[in-house]
């Protein structure tokens, strides 16, 4: 992944989130406080605006995006997405074209940091339930076809619906959360799906 592709990733994520803002808010209204679309929209718009167009350092691009998300999203998703991109950026610092293996290692480091920050595990009906299986997939499968990655993200997202929420505001709904989609898992899917899109374009 080149720096330009990383920038495109942020752009594409922002685009998908903007296009699905209402849906994200709607999901968060059902199981939360109804601001997830607004939060993510605000955050990714800021992340796009601050993009350093000149650097070829992938780490720098991603770290900049993370810092921006951290300082603009707020709520639960801000520190989590902020941490994800900042840690991924830290792992790829100085790299101009990391390969899929480096990206995978970066994902592991970033997702572990998110989990620590949120004191969350997979299976608690959060964005982790998309990030964690996708990262495991990257770690264990030979991802020759990037579409498989998107499918994995999609399948994980699908599964989240069946979980009972244990973390975040959705946890207040307890067993009533089963059968409903988690807003953060949905936005995580858009971010990962955006990654697949830009990586495929780069190929």
């Amino acid at each position: 992944m080149k720096a330009e592709t990383a920038r495109k990733w942020i752009h594409e994520s922002a685009r998908q989130i903007e296009a699905n803002k209402e849906q994200l808010t709607q999901l968060d209204q059902t199981l939360g406080d109804g601001d997830h679309g607004l939060n993510m929209g605000r955050g990714f718009q800021a992340a796009v605006e601050q993009l350093d167009q000149d650097t070829s350092d992938v780490g720098k691009v991603l770290k900049g995006a993370g810092t921006s998300l951290l300082s603009k999203i707020g709520g639960a998703s801000g520190p989590l997405y902020g941490t994800f991109f900042m840690k991924l950026g830290a792992h790829l610092a100085g790299e101009e074209n990391p390969d899929l293996k480096q990206l995978t290692e970066g994902f592991r480091s970033a997702v572990d940091s998110m989990k620590k920050r949120g004191k969350a595990e997979a299976g608690e009906k959060t964005m982790i339930d998309v990030f964690e299986p996708v990262t495991e997939f990257l770690e264990t499968e030979n991802v020759s076809n990037l579409d498989n990655l998107r499918e994995k993200a999609e399948a994980s997202l699908e599964e989240v619906q069946g979980f009972e929420a244990k973390k975040g505001r959705a946890a207040y709904y307890k067993e009533k959360s089963v059968g409903k989609q988690d807003a953060g898992a949905q936005s995580a899917y858009y971010i990962l799906s955006s990654l697949v899109t830009v990586l495929k374009e780069e190929q």
Binding site: T25, Q26, Q29, G32, D33, G34, D35, L38, N39, R42, L70, S71, K72, I73, G74, G75, A76, S77, G78, P79, L80, R117, G118, K166, K167, G168, R169, A171, Y172, Y173, K176
Partner: protein
């Protein structure tokens, strides 16, 4: 929902400016932030910082001032503020004796404030925090998010603020704040929902004769929906929920807060207070201090919460110590 506003995304910014213009002698805004700070800090004391999403006014800026907070950080409506903003607040109020953060127990608030604390520690500022979790509507369990922080937060502001004003150290202030939290329980009920500006929908729905008992201050669900009870029945119901964990017994002294959720006429709060006093008195419990008003709101949600703080001598003294803030003056 009709609201007096310009663009939804300008609300917090314009509210903060409007606050400073209303109280120019008491507040100032840190440039390019959502942080309001006391115009003149009392010298040489532990700093107290609180904050959270907007939409809970007068929380949190209404508690800035003598004997309470030194700064308040505002997020977007119902959204925790970000770590960089909290960090700015910490830096602004630290006078070398350290800073206590008062956090309400929501995942977002906890994470953002924790990250700010880490940033401050990295710069050598001594930061501690307490997490308020007074809402009995939610189970407390280490496996889940745990109980929410609601109006009991104001008692924490007051007592921690008084301790800091009296010259206590950071660890003493923190210890006292933790004791307030341990002895504070709240529960609320909503009659009508609130709507996050720009979202286009109310946060939840209730039937024409329905209320939700145990509602959170962002419209999080409660314990049950019931038919609208009489004020007396409602007081009994709410009291039955908050009392058990406090293990109150005859002769105990408490502070009672009857808090409006934003759109509730004061009249209704006084009526609630009337019967709550009778119920407590009948149980042999002394209400040594009563606060009735809008202290921790949820935009235009209608309904009320009650908070009980079990007092001991020190808590009582600090609760009744002088304070001079916009929303809480003694």
């Amino acid at each position: 929902m009709k609201k007096i506003m310009n663009e939804p995304n300008q609300m917090v910014d314009q509210m903060l400016d409007g606050l400073v213009k209303a109280y120019p002698d008491q507040l100032k805004r840190l440039e390019d932030t959502t942080v309001l700070v006391r115009k003149e800090l009392s010298p040489d004391k532990v700093g107290i910082v609180s904050g959270g999403g907007s939409g809970h006014e007068p929380a949190h800026a209404g508690y800035i001032g003598e004997g309470m907070l030194d700064a308040a950080v505002s997020g977007e409506v119902f959204t925790s503020p970000t770590p960089d903003q909290v960090f700015e607040a910490i830096k602004a109020v630290d006078q070398g004796k350290g800073v206590l953060l008062v956090i309400k127990n929501y995942t977002g608030d906890v994470m953002n404030f924790e990250m700010a604390a880490e940033m401050a520690e990295d710069e050598g500022i001594n930061v501690e925090y307490v997490t308020v979790n007074d809402d009995v509507a939610v189970e407390d369990s280490t496996h889940t998010t745990g109980r929410r922080g609601v109006a009991g937060t104001i008692f924490v502001h007051k007592i921690a603020g008084a301790a800091a004003a009296s010259g206590a150290s950071l660890s003493e202030v923190k210890e006292l704040a933790a004791r307030v939290i341990q002895h504070t329980r709240s529960i609320g009920a909503a009659l009508y929902p609130a709507e996050v500006p720009g979202s286009g929908n109310p946060g939840f729905e209730l039937g024409d004769n329905e209320i939700e008992v145990g509602i959170g201050i962002h419209g999080e669900p409660g314990m049950e929906k019931t038919d609208l009870p009489s004020a007396d029945q409602l007081s009994e119901k709410l009291l039955d929920e908050v009392m058990p964990e406090l293990e109150l017994k005859q002769g105990d002294e408490v502070a009672l807060m009857v808090n409006g959720m934003g759109a509730t006429p004061l009249m209704e709060l006084y009526i609630l207070n009337n019967h709550l006093h009778d119920l407590l008195t009948n149980k042999g419990i002394t209400v040594a201090d009563t606060k009735v008003g809008n202290f921790m709101t949820a935009l235009e949600m209608a309904g009320a919460s009650i908070t009980i703080l079990k007092l001991d001598n020190e808590l009582k003294t600090q609760l009744q110590a002088p304070s001079k803030t916009i929303a809480f003056t003694i």
